[in-house]
């Protein structure tokens, strides 16, 4: 097929009561079935609307607040897909697996591929070096069932995020599966910020579409779900199907169906506690679609021009825990350069009108990010400061008044992996209103 209809569901998870001690398997199953009841209705809806595949969020069946002990009753032993198992037809082949059987039947009865995120447990010998004290490895796991209900993929999340209830697999798993509508890859939430498996699936396994369940907490100004995930799809030039959990108090919202050129559908809702089903037709093989976005040489333009005059009053400010070099956009139009170590960022811009009540800055950061200092970031950003006080530059701002007639942002990046982000007032994306030129400039299109 040249195209297929994709579905993602932003689910407001019914969470378990907080408990210090593990509940019974029956009570755990009762709660998971309450969430699967909701997913069942959505999966039916998506299938009736012609969707070939649906992604549901990370932690959608039981939430995220657990210890190793209290999550145990929610776990099932999930076999390797190589065993060619249809849980819906053979529910007792691998012991007690009621959740896998029900999910498999949902896929089979609605003739749709279903991705769900559930918990896997694998027995180990506690005298083994890494084996946990309870004799089980516990994994945050994605499973995919095909239209016959067969388990076709199983992925154990590698980059955990304060998830003490789960273990880290020995090494990142590179999980793909083929369909008549393209080759799919899978990973989860925090994995997207790292090379393996995320980049390797695209670069070495040539997947067309990534299935991405997540429980993503939004962090302005750079790491809000819709902003970063749509940019990742554009930068990596693949489809990215994102199903996020919905939990307003934890800033969890932001799902989407993102194509390499532009977001197809997205959802962001900090007002209600409602779930949301998104559907869209996408190219099965974006690499073959025309025009396929060309490979970008991200530093070509920025290294080819003479830096613009660096303004005397550049200053430093924080975004989260990272120290950026900033310079203010004083005029309503101009050319600016700001550098930090070997990264120089260039901005040409023209505002429709300079809003006296607003201040914008151009910022540069290159280095190991945050307190963990694990990931090496290189960021060029033009952002609106929270107030006209320059000490608030880098703090989250959610609304703006200033419109730009023209902008062109570029940087002397040392990496080929750059994700272009454009976030508009009230946390909106800007589909079709900007593009990336092959010399690395991020420019407005209108």
């Amino acid at each position: 097929l040249d195209t297929f209809i994709a579905a993602v569901y932003e689910h407001a998870v019914i969470l378990p009561n907080e408990t210090e001690t593990p509940v019974s398997q029956e009570d755990a199953l009762l709660l998971m079935n309450k969430n699967i009841d909701i997913l069942e209705k959505i999966i039916k809806q998506a299938a009736e609307k012609g969707a070939q595949i649906i992604v549901t969020p990370e932690d959608a069946l039981y939430g995220w607040k657990f210890t190793r002990e209290t999550i145990f009753p929610y776990l099932e032993d999930i076999p390797d897909p190589q065993v060619a198992w249809i849980p819906c037809e053979d529910p007792h082949r691998f012991g007690r697996t009621p959740v896998q059987a029900r999910l498999s039947c949902l896929a089979k009865n609605n003739s749709i591929y279903v991705l769900a995120n559930i918990g896997d447990k694998k027995p180990c010998h506690s005298h083994g070096s890494r084996c946990p004290s309870n004799g089980y490895y516990q994994y945050n796991t994605n499973v995919v069932y095909d239209t016959e209900g067969k388990l076709v993929a199983r992925y154990h999340k590698y980059h955990l995020y304060s998830e003490r209830q789960f273990d880290v697999p020995e090494k990142p798993e590179l999980v793909t599966f083929n369909t008549t509508f393209g080759k799919f890859g899978i990973f989860t939430c925090f994995d997207i910020l790292f090379h393996d498996p995320a980049v390797t699936l695209v670069k070495d396994f040539y997947v067309d579409t990534i299935l991405f369940p997540t429980a993503w907490m939004n962090v302005l100004p750079l790491l809000t779900a819709i902003e970063f995930h749509s940019a990742w799809a554009m930068g990596m030039r693949v489809n990215l199907l994102v199903a996020n959990t919905h939990h307003v108090h934890l800033n969890m919202t932001g799902s989407g169906i993102y194509a390499p050129h532009s977001p197809k559908e997205y959802h962001y809702d900090m007002e209600t506690e409602l779930g949301k089903l998104l559907l869209s037709e996408v190219d099965a093989h974006p690499r073959n679609s025309s025009p396929y976005p060309m490979a970008v040489n991200w530093s070509a333009y920025a290294t080819s021009i003479k830096p613009f005059p660096v303004q005397k009053n550049s200053f430093q400010g924080f975004i989260s825990r990272d120290v950026f070099n900033f310079t203010e956009l004083f005029e309503n139009a101009g050319n600016l350069t700001i550098c930090q170590k070997d990264l120089c960022c260039h901005l040409s811009y023209r505002m429709l009108r300079k809003e006296e009540s607003e201040v914008y800055v151009l910022g540069a950061f290159t280095g190991l990010h945050g307190r963990r200092r694990r990931e090496y970031w290189q960021v060029c950003t033009m952002l609106k400061c929270k107030t006209t006080n320059l000490t608030t530059c880098g703090r989250p701002a959610e609304t703006a008044l200033t419109r730009f007639d023209m902008f062109s942002l570029s940087g002397t990046f040392g990496t080929e992996y750059v994700f272009p982000e454009v976030l508009l007032t009230k946390i909106q994306l800007s589909p079709g209103k900007f593009e990336v030129l092959k010399d690395g400039r991020l420019v407005n299109k209108n």
Partner: protein, 31 residues
């Protein structure tokens, strides 16, 4: 016409080769 008011324009680069590989897959604290 001109676009909606802009909050942020960014080029977000990840230089994986320069990552520090001290902690394996697990992350013990919020970023």
């Amino acid at each position: 016409g001109s676009s909606e008011p802009i909050l942020t324009l960014s080029l977000f680069g990840r230089w994986y080769a320069k990552d520090s590989h001290s902690i394996p897959g697990g992350t013990s604290n919020l970023s």
